[in-house]
């Protein structure tokens, strides 16, 4: 046992690091954790790429637009947002809550707000990575998005990520992590197949058609298709996404349990 540590003379007490640095650090830490997690990578990268290839080699989307890949890619990007912001982030937060990680970090200078902002940053960072990977695969397949639709398209993608992040936090903060795992995975499959996200409403069963426009999945899928295919902003879909973000955000703020 060493007797006296080198810092024996230094006074106790340290100030917090600047706010921005704390949030960026947490964002970086959460991003690396997400990317290192094999299951998360499958959900975030592999499954969307498989869906992209599937939709371009089958005639499922034929007749809906200029080419299969042009119709498929906006939906795949929406699926990426749901994977990362809702399922991936929800599960990670649920288990962090179980293991007391949220409580411990909220006692450090990071605090609760910094913790949430760090998670949002990580979602955005992983989403950027997904956009790059999907683009790298889609462009050689012949993806030609509408140029005036690019900026609104990516902003809408961020809005969709916000809605799904709020929903993911709501689930993760209110039920057990095992239930979060089940709910977010099940919804990913249900919404992915029938939620109007990769398959446009007009190709869905009549029952689904009636509701998908009001779901965050259907609204984001349609908003991105309108932006990347036609360069237009679907205001109804934007409204639906804003509403989901506001309601889920308020509910998460109200009911999120830290322990």
């Amino acid at each position: 046992m060493s007797s006296v540590p080198a810092t024996a003379g230094t006074p106790l007490g340290s100030g917090p690091a600047p706010l921005l640095r704390r949030i960026l650090l947490q964002g970086k830490y959460e991003t690396v954790t997400m990317i290192r997690n094999g299951e998360q990578l499958i959900l975030a990268i592999i499954l969307p790429l498989l869906a992209l290839v599937g939709l371009t080699v089958t005639p499922l989307l034929d007749g809906l637009g200029s080419s299969r890949v042009n119709i498929a890619v906006p939906g795949i990007l929406a699926l990426c947002a749901m994977s990362t912001a809702f399922t991936g982030q929800g599960i990670a937060t649920g288990f962090d809550r179980r293991y007391g990680v949220l409580r411990f970090l909220s006692t450090t200078p990071l605090g609760r707000a910094g913790l949430i902002l760090g998670k949002v940053l990580a979602v955005l960072a992983v989403l950027l990575l997904q956009v790059l990977v999907v683009s790298a695969v889609a462009l050689p397949l012949g993806w030609r998005p509408s140029v005036p639709g690019l900026l609104p398209g990516f902003l809408l993608l961020v809005l969709g990520a916000a809605a799904f992040t709020a929903l993911g936090l709501l689930v993760a903060g209110t039920v057990r992590p095992e239930a979060t795992l089940a709910i977010t995975n099940l919804l990913w499959i249900l919404l992915g197949a029938l939620g109007g996200i990769v398959i446009p409403a007009e190709r869905l069963p009549a029952l689904a058609q009636a509701i998908v426009h009001f779901l965050p999945s259907g609204a984001l899928g349609q908003a991105l298709r309108d932006a990347f295919l036609h360069g237009s902003v679907n205001l109804a879909a934007v409204f639906v996404l804003l509403l989901w973000t506001a309601i889920a955000g308020a509910a998460a703020t109200r009911w999120f349990k830290w322990n």
């Binding site: 540590p5 024996a8 007490g13 340290s14 100030g15 917090p16 997690n37 450090t108």
Partner: protein, 294 residues
């Protein structure tokens, strides 16, 4: 409204180890979680470094270190990157390498948190609580899961930090922890503090209450079924705690001890063991908070 804790009042000073001693469920963790701002209290007041922890910002959190009972460390993390990450939240942290060497964390630096032993996890959680060089340190059951070597290491560090002026507040249900570490002890029972003082004061207080100067317990082991009635004064409590194991507690005098040994000699009894002990904090604790299991 559920009142888990009501009627706890305590003060923790700089340069002191303050222990909250109580059985499981007594309200120790609830009390310190309120002080840390982790639980919202419905009444009462808490002042931490001159501020209310419920409304405190990053500046206050930077001055306070917390080691939670369940650790609060992400299972997939490796110790050193995790400590570096937490250190990054502070302007002027304790150098991670130094802390790692001091707590022997380098021995398991390649292992993820989920594969660490209980004692290794506790040492890492302590390092995480200390990396901001806090002025106030909260430790919830710090010796849970520690092997004797780790315990020695952790206790030495706590004593050293206390000597450097840190205010240390710890909860424990282990009397030995309180007796070894604490400058001041609060005994918590059913959400209230029922006794307080230095360890010496608590022991003395109980002696004074018993109206005697030398409360001792004599233990010995011999053949079962001995009847010691009449050997010792009537106010000495004699019990056969299990077959052949006897204890006599009270204001024993040298003459009482002579009487017991003379009684053995008369009957040709040679005990297998005998010992004499002053009262421990554990006896005080059990007397105050009762012996029943809750």
């Amino acid at each position: 409204m559920l009142r888990v804790v009501s009627g706890v009042s305590l003060v923790a000073e700089r340069g002191q180890v303050t222990a909250l001693l109580g059985a499981n469920g007594a309200g120790k963790t609830t009390t310190i979680e309120c002080a840390q701002g982790l639980q919202k209290r419905t009444g009462g007041s808490i002042i931490l470094l001159g501020q209310d922890p419920d409304t405190a910002g990053a500046a206050l959190r930077a001055r306070v270190g917390v080691m939670l009972q369940d650790g609060g460390l992400p299972p997939s993390a490796r110790p050193i990157p995790l400590l570096r990450h937490i250190a990054g939240m502070y302007q002027d942290p304790w150098p991670v390498d130094e802390l790692v060497a001091r707590l022997g964390i380098d021995a398991f630096s390649r292992t993820s948190v989920r594969r660490l032993s209980g004692g290794q996890k506790q040492r890492l959680a302590l390092a995480a609580a200390l990396v901001g060089r806090p002025e106030v340190l909260f430790l919830d059951e710090p010796s849970a899961g520690l092997d004797p070597q780790s315990r020695q290491l952790v206790f030495e560090l706590i004593a050293e930090l206390r000597d450097r002026g840190m205010a240390i507040i710890l909860t424990t249900h282990l009397m030995d922890d309180a007796q070894r570490l604490a400058d001041y002890v609060y005994i918590i029972d059913a959400g209230r503090n029922v006794a307080e003082g230095t360890v010496a004061q608590l022991l003395r207080h109980e002696l004074a209450a018993a109206g005697a100067q030398h409360i001792r317990t004599l233990h010995f082991e011999a053949e079962p079924g001995l009847d010691l009635a009449g050997v010792l004064p009537a106010d000495v409590e004699i019990r056969e705690t299990r077959a052949g194991s006897y204890s006599a507690t009270g204001a024993l005098t040298p003459a009482d001890l002579a009487a017991v040994t003379a009684w053995w000699a008369d009957r040709g009894i040679m005990p297998a063991s005998m010992s004499l002990a002053a009262r421990s904090l554990e006896d005080v604790f059990l007397d105050i908070s009762g012996r029943e299991i809750r």
